[in-house]
């Protein structure tokens, strides 16, 4: 065959004194799928951003189809046939799908945009790769999975021959992810070359031809898929063997939170329909289900950002009136929100400011913020939760996705709260970090925290939860003891099977 379609030659990039990429060389053949693995902050996104021209490398060069790309010019990369699907989507929610796709594809000085031709081309591509979208839908109205499809279409629309996907499945449901990977394999068969970044070893083993592992900014290993195993990859990534912790038996304490027939209605739709659950001290209650079935509302209810329209909520033995955000904070409900960029942290503020946001009163003296104490507190979190890539005074925006999540966790768990609401806590984390997060959650459980774990990852729920309920179309199933759960029974629960059983029982 011909030479590689893409060559990265000895790329290095330093941010301050943080060596994000060190002397990395990598190439890619036509029709090949390469997976890029590495811990949070290992430098994966940085490397791909250099390839695409978002960042200027300090040294090294990028060659596509034998031609060297000028550094720091996304336009040149696009022209050369490189497409990128970003970790944090780069789309405009107020524009339509077609507009998002067509931006920048025509010469800027044309007197009119040829939307008809654009639509035709978009529909052809979406047909050819089985990526269905409505070109006239407003992007912000689409689900995350659909938005990602738009990101991919955008790259293909630019005639990409090389497609880079940065953690494409982090925000997808399992079904969506499976579909995505079959599309990607199909693309490779049609002659595209792909690089994707993932933390999920299952997908990597199922999809990639070759696997490249980064650690601490260096390329530490390269393996053919046939020659490696999940265990080896995990070890290569972290530099040591990792094992996810599993909960030990324990007896839960009293009930701290009970929902009885709670309904939440927003925008004229019942998002939660008469749900019941009880949460006991020192216990993990797992809520499983395909995302979009009411998880977000459930989380909002407990963080005080959505109010119930019927039913009652008993907190620490007392019936609560409307639970406000302030109540949630003062009564010790820790929260790990699902969308960390929007609800978890304020990117423009520093790590220490983000760390103390909810505890302002504790960190103020004579009405002024006690900066020194705040910085010390942040330093403690950074230490204890292994947040890498920043000091207490650096801006949160600069952290890698996974490290941001560790910061949020640390902020909530450094002093175990009475109740912890954890929505997709391990999303986007590397194997080592997942194990660490699980460890922390189990430690909080041991310390008597009542934990509500909302997750799509069945392995995670089986490992952590004492009891499991499924959420389907805004309804909660009765709870099932983890001891009695297996993949099959949980699958049935997630499909809403319990309801039919109830009906049968009633007959």
């Amino acid at each position: 065959m011909t030479g590689p379609v893409l060559e990265l030659d000895r790329i290095s990039k330093q941010f301050g004194d943080n060596l994000a990429n060190h002397d990395i060389s990598l190439n890619l053949a036509k029709g090949e799928i390469v997976a890029l693995l590495g811990e949070n902050g290992a430098g994966k996104t940085t490397l791909m951003s250099i390839l695409f021209g978002h960042y200027m490398p300090d040294s090294g060069k990028v060659t596509v189809m034998g031609r060297e790309l000028p550094p720091g010019k996304p336009r040149a990369a696009i022209r050369a046939g490189v497409g990128m699907v970003h970790q944090h989507f780069s789309l405009a929610p107020n524009l339509t799908v077609l507009e998002n796709v067509m931006t920048g594809t025509e010469s800027l000085w044309l007197p009119a945009s040829n939307a008809a031709a654009g639509r035709k081309k978009l529909l052809e591509i979406s047909e050819r790769f089985g990526l269905k979208v409505d070109p006239d839908a407003r992007l912000g109205d689409l689900s995350v999975g659909e938005q990602q499809r738009v990101e991919i279409l955008k790259a293909l629309y630019n005639d990409a021959r090389i497609l880079v996907l940065d953690e494409p499945t982090a925000v997808l449901t399992r079904i969506e992810a499976d579909k995505l990977f079959s599309t990607l394999k199909d693309m490779a068969r049609q002659g595209l070359s792909l690089i994707f970044i993932s933390h999920k070893l299952d997908e990597v083993m199922a999809t990639a031809d070759r696997i490249v592992v980064l650690r601490g900014g260096k390329l530490v290993a390269e393996r053919k898929r046939e020659e490696t195993s999940k265990a080896e990859l995990a070890e290569l990534m972290v530099g040591r063997a990792v094992k996810r912790p599993v909960r030990d038996a324990s007896t839960p304490g009293e009930v701290v939170l009970e929902a009885i027939g709670v309904t939440v209605r927003t925008g004229g739709v019942d998002r939660l329909k008469s749900v019941d659950f009880r949460l006991r001290a020192g216990e993990v209650l797992g809520i499983i289900g395909v995302s979009g079935n009411g998880q977000a509302t459930l989380a909002q209810l407990l963080s005080g950002t959505a109010q119930r329209s019927a039913g009652s909520l008993v907190l620490f033995g007392e019936e609560t009136a409307d639970l406000t955000v302030a109540d949630a904070v003062t009564s010790g409900i820790g929260r790990i929100p699902e969308d960390r960029n929007r609800e978890g942290v304020i990117g423009e503020m520093t790590i220490w400011e983000n760390a103390i946001l909810e505890r302002l009163s504790r960190f103020s003296r004579l009405g002024l913020v006690d900066r020194k104490a705040g910085v010390a507190f942040a330093a403690r979190i950074i230490q204890a939760f292994d947040v890498r890539g920043g000091s207490p005074t650096s801006r949160v925006r600069l952290l890698s996705g996974g490290n941001m999540q560790k910061l949020i966790l640390g902020r909530n768990l450094i002093e175990p709260p009475r109740i912890l609401l954890a929505a997709q806590p391990a999303r986007g984390l590397d194997e080592g970090a997942v194990a660490a997060v699980h460890q922390r959650i189990l430690e909080a459980r041991r310390a008597g925290t009542a934990i509500l774990l909302i997750s799509e990852d069945l392995d995670e729920v089986m490992a952590l939860a004492d009891r499991i309920q499924a959420i389907v179309g805004g309804r909660l199933s009765p709870s099932l003891d983890a001891e009695d759960a297996d993949a099959r029974s949980l699958g049935l629960m997630m499909a809403g099977e319990w309801e039919e059983r109830e009906v049968v029982d009633a007959v």
Partner: protein
């Protein structure tokens, strides 16, 4: 009641509406273009003042009226460039920079005016734009005097609103401007240079503001005095929100505000003595606030408005 109908039925009212609306249309379009790319330009009040001065001064010194407008546009563009350097390149607060530009441009306008024009008892004047008669339409009964006795810049402003509406919604560069205002990172990922787009939009928008100011001295009046913009710039900023960042609605909003203003002027003469005239002065502003409150809730703000864009950062 009859008095109200008399006012509405007078051609003079409608002619005044178009005249009052013209600087508002131009200023609002300028502010809108800039905001669509993600940059709030509070320099508008000062830029309009400067445009009013420099355009007038050029004509006073012998340039023809159209050259005067062109020079006002260039003057506006210079301050737009200054605002871009501060907000786009340096990423400073757009509020602070804009207010700074306003303070600087209006004082500088007065300074230059005093330097170049001798102090006299009555302010010096120029020969302003004359009404033009398009295809003899001005002789139509009622409609003629109401709508076709304007000066050329008024018609230009209306045409510009249509052109800008087309530019923003139908052309590749318009899409690039919108994308930059919504998500500059996404624009960059599509090979567009968000910095260049923002510079272009702010400078072009400021040129429009300068022309809007110059309308006051070259068409509506014939002399310059330093307080003549009288908050019109701020009205334009509010009209952008009222218009949900859409040029065609900006045209409508400017006309609506001008209608309130022209109407209250005439109401004053009818009801003078009964109600203090200051009440009437308030009417357009009160109604604008009401309209703004009603419209703004549905408005879709450009998502990256006021967010500085820095390359190679996240």
């Amino acid at each position: 009641m009859n008095a109200l109908i008399d006012i509405l039925a007078s051609a003079g009212l409608w002619a005044a509406v178009l005249r009052i609306a013209t600087p508002l249309i131009l200023g609002t379009l300028g502010a809108l273009l800039s905001e669509r790319s993600g940059v709030l330009n509070l320099g508008i009040e000062g830029i309009m003042t400067f445009g009013a001065m420099i355009g007038w001064l050029a004509v006073y010194n012998g340039a023809d009226l159209w050259t005067g407008l062109l020079i006002a546009a260039l003057g506006g563009a210079v301050f737009g460039f200054l605002h871009s350097v501060l907000t786009v390149t340096l990423g400073l607060s757009q509020h602070v920079s804009g207010l700074g530009v306003t303070l600087f441009a209006s004082s500088f306008a007065y300074y230059v005016f005093r330097l170049m024009v001798p102090v006299t008892g009555t302010p010096p004047t120029i020969e302003p734009f004359k009404p033009i008669d398009i295809l003899g339409l001005s002789s139509l009964p009622f409609l003629g005097p109401a709508f076709f006795t304007q000066t050329a810049p008024t018609y230009v402003a209306i045409v510009l609103a249509v052109v800008l509406a087309y530019l923003i919604s139908r052309t590749p560069i318009g899409l690039a401007i919108r994308m930059t205002g919504e998500n500059p990172h996404a624009a960059e990922a599509q090979g567009i240079n968000p910095m260049a787009i923002r510079y272009g939009a702010v400078i072009a928008g400021s040129a429009l503001m300068g022309v809007g100011g110059a309308f006051l001295t070259l068409s509506a009046f014939n002399s310059f005095f330093p307080t003549m913009v009288q908050g019109r710039g701020w009205i334009c900023i509010a009209l952008v929100v009222f218009a949900s960042w859409r040029p065609e609605r900006a045209l409508f909003g400017a006309l609506l505000f001008a209608f309130f203003d022209a109407f209250q002027l005439r109401l004053q003469t009818v009801l003078s003595g009964v109600v203090p005239y200051q009440i009437f002065l308030m009417i357009p502003y009160l109604l604008s606030i009401a309209a703004l409150a009603a419209m703004a809730r549905r408005a879709r703000v450009p998502q990256a408005l006021m967010q500085p864009y820095r390359r190679g950062e996240r």
